[in-house]
């Protein structure tokens, strides 16, 4: 231990991350969670550092979670969105990045609709780039908080049957979870309609199902993805009614899973579509706890990349 360091590194995704790096983030997140739960949440390891949240797509939980994570660590954090910036005047992405990076900026947390945009940013400017979701590619901190939540409830990830249900092909949350969970030894299953889950994905070391009941059988964890309603117009599914009936996660489906099955959802939910309300607010659902864990995980990521170290200076 102590060999792995994320200091000065970007976090673009989990496909390139090592298991040791993932473990380091999750270990530090455990300490950060104590801070989030405490009365005095200010631990100023990032005092004097500047973080820009560059969010080119709407976001509630990820943006506010990154903002609070930075502030709890004592950094100065500002938020930029296209409507209130020069991007609305047609400034190119490169020029926007250059401008933002010349303000003493230590890190840019970026949400962008274009896959690969954070990688582009690493080649264009100097600050540390943290990917907060790029198109349908990756959303690494979401997967890390999902993994943290699993460990918190189940003790470990290795060997656990984890089912991801929904529009896998268009989901950055699914991709990051697949890359992260398979690295950590989980038994990963994907489920959804044939238009949203391609059999070729089994090349990534997962099992693909189009029968959600078969997928959920004996599952330890079911992670339900948000269905984007506009997908009806590209013929990915016929109606909300049929999706809910065939692929919706409800208590009846979950009766096939392990008794202590844990349910997750990255939010925002379409209650009654991909997840039934009684499951959403069930005591085996951890959807709100995921939000809290999100702050802890993002604190860990910002701390490890901007400040460095292995977190041993933090209180347990």
């Amino acid at each position: 231990m102590g060999q792995v360091s994320l200091h000065g590194k970007h976090l673009l995704g989990l496909q390139q991350a090592t298991p040791e790096e993932i473990k380091l983030i999750l270990d530090v997140a455990k300490k950060m969670k104590q801070v989030v739960l405490s009365d005095d949440k200010k631990i100023p390891y990032l005092k004097g550092k500047a973080i820009i949240n560059l969010f080119m797509e709407p976001s509630t939980r990820t943006r506010s979670s990154f903002e609070l994570a930075g502030k709890y660590l004592g950094a100065d954090v500002i938020n930029i969105s296209p409507s209130g910036s020069s991007m609305g005047k047609g400034e190119s992405f490169r020029d926007t990045l250059l401008t933002l990076s010349y303000m003493g900026t230590d890190a840019i947390v970026m949400r962008h609709s274009a896959e690969g945009a954070p990688l582009y940013a690493t080649k264009a400017v100097d600050p540390i780039i943290i990917n907060a979701g790029d198109g349908a590619h990756e959303h690494p901190t979401q997967a890390l908080l999902d993994m943290y939540s699993i460990i918190e409830q189940k003790g470990s990830i290795e060997g656990k049957k984890i089912v991801i249900v929904g529009d896998i092909m268009h989901s950055r949350v699914a991709r990051s979870n697949i890359y992260g969970l398979t690295k950590m030894g989980a038994d990963v299953h994907l489920a959804g309609p044939r238009t949203m889950v391609y059999p070729e994905l089994e090349k990534l070391g997962v099992t693909v199902h189009h029968d959600v009941r078969e997928a959920v059988k004996d599952a330890d964890v079911v992670n339900v993805l948000r269905i984007q309603l506009e997908r009806i117009h590209s013929a990915l599914y016929p109606t909300n009614r049929e999706y809910a009936r065939i692929f919706g996660i409800n208590k009846d489906v979950l009766s096939l899973a392990k008794d202590d099955v844990m349910v997750m959802h990255p939010g925002p939910m379409n209650r009654g579509l991909e997840i039934s309300p009684d499951v959403a607010y069930w005591d085996q659902s951890v959807i709100q706890e995921q939000v809290r864990n999100g702050v802890a995980v993002r604190m860990a990521v910002l701390y490890l990349t901007i400040h460095g170290g292995d977190g041993s200076e933090l209180a347990n």
Partner: protein, 429 residues
């Protein structure tokens, strides 16, 4: 003005010639090809160890003039051609305005003669404004000297329109060059669809989009007797279908780009827009099928699909950047590096696909070294290694997937009508 190219290996597929010989050029024409030629007071170029070939011809170039001069113009584009060893290029009609009428063709031919470094031929649009609705005046443009018709950049979506275009164009003995990609299957797509695009989260342009379009247009060629030429073939099913069509004796030909012979979709993992093009770079099984298609003659020509864009247009997020890049200055090296050698193309086949056959397809009096013919000659090395530097390009489009790569094979001398227009990488006009 005379020139003697000495001691090179003359590769001249039209005459089944492959031997060490000298080539003497006088008054813009080839005066003699033979052993130990002597001439007093002429410039001598020592081609020892080099290939002496009929000038390379690119039948799929975008010179962007008129209207898109920020990307390229006749001068910069033909400088790039000369640098890459091309003595003649055939430029596409998707300019601003579209080349869809004879007066424009006549004016542009004059302009290209004035400012062009190498010879330029023109393709006329099939449909007015590339809209796929009304036929452009194909007969008028044929008289004005276009060598073929194409709405390249756009698939002709209406099968009925393509049928009429093939029927009508057949009267003028000119082919219709077909950008074959079904639009509905490619909507919002940015790269080959497969496990790599699935991992990257990028919407794909599946190979079947090309296959379907090609299948339709081969059938229309059979029905009409018109000549369909499939542009930039990228898919293995297309190669199989063209092979079968040729076996049936149909009027079907095709071409492949040097970049589709060089890369696979694995190269796109960094979301580098330089690799973004349509049709997309596909997987290794497709690349192998393309090389096989060249080996058995199913694929007729190797092209550059030189498609320059201004730096600021290409320098964007992957999904926002336009398709295409500048290929004239790297195409020969790409072919030598990736498609030439043991188990792949011979040097005779390289010259055949890059000069002899393209000239035949476009019915040009070129592509052969013969006494009395215009001295359009390319001298090139098959062994010289060099590192591609986009900032050294003559093209205005300073973006290339080959940038920074070390490649083998380089044009050394480009001769047009007996005049040296490029020597050792330096363009002289």
């Amino acid at each position: 003005m005379s020139l003697l190219i000495k001691n090179g290996t003359v590769v001249n597929p039209a005459k089944q010639q492959h031997e060490i010989a000298d080539v003497l050029i006088e008054n813009g024409k080839i005066a003699a090809i033979g052993q130990n030629l002597e001439a007093n007071g002429v410039e001598v170029y020592d081609a020892t160890g080099l290939i002496v070939a009929p000038g390379l011809i690119d039948i799929h170039t975008h010179l962007r003039e008129p209207g898109q001069e920020a990307k390229e113009d006749f001068h910069s584009g033909t400088q790039a051609a000369a640098a890459g060893g091309f003595t003649r290029v055939v430029t596409m009609a998707n300019t601003t305005p579209v080349v869809d009428n004879a007066p424009l063709v006549r004016g542009l031919r004059k302009q290209a003669e004035l400012t062009g470094v190498v010879k330029v031929e023109f393709i006329g649009a099939v449909s007015k404004g590339l809209e796929g609705k009304e036929l452009a005046e194909l007969g008028d443009m044929a008289e004005a000297g276009v060598v073929a018709f194409s709405d390249d950049g756009h698939y002709v979506e209406s099968a009925a329109f393509m049928r009429r275009a093939l029927e009508y164009s057949s009267m003028f003995n000119k082919m219709v060059i077909d950008h074959a990609e079904d639009v509905t299957l490619c909507k919002n797509g940015h790269m080959h669809e497969g496990i790599v695009s699935y991992e990257m989260g990028v919407i794909g342009r599946p190979a079947v989009a090309e296959d379907m379009a090609v299948a339709r247009d081969i059938m229309l060629a059979e029905m009409t007797g018109g000549h369909i030429h499939i542009a930039h073939v990228s898919s293995k099913n297309t190669v199989d279908m063209v092979r079968a069509a040729k076996a049936k004796g149909l009027n079907v030909t095709c071409e492949v780009t040097s970049q589709h012979l060089s890369f696979t979709d694995e190269y796109l993992r960094d979301y580098n827009p330089a690799f973004k093009m349509a049709p997309p770079i596909r997987s290794e099984d497709h690349r192998q099928a393309l090389i096989e298609g060249l080996l058995d003659g199913t694929i007729d020509a190797i092209i550059t699909d030189h498609a320059p864009h201004a730096f600021e247009e290409k320098d964007q997020e992957f999904c926002c950047a336009p398709n295409g890049f500048s290929g004239l200055e790297t195409s020969l090296a790409a072919v030598i590096t990736n498609a030439y050698g043991e188990g792949k193309l011979s040097i005779d086949q390289v010259v055949y696909h890059m000069s002899t056959r393209p000239a035949e397809l476009m019915r040009l009096d070129a592509g052969v070294l013969e006494v009395g013919k215009a001295a359009d000659i390319t001298v090139f090395s098959t062994t010289e290694e060099w590192t591609v530097d986009r900032n050294q390009f003559y093209t205005k489009g300073k973006v290339s997937p080959f940038d920074g790569m070390t490649v083998t094979g380089k044009a050394k001398l480009t001769v047009v009508d007996g005049e040296i227009v490029m020597k050792e990488g330096v363009v002289l006009r």
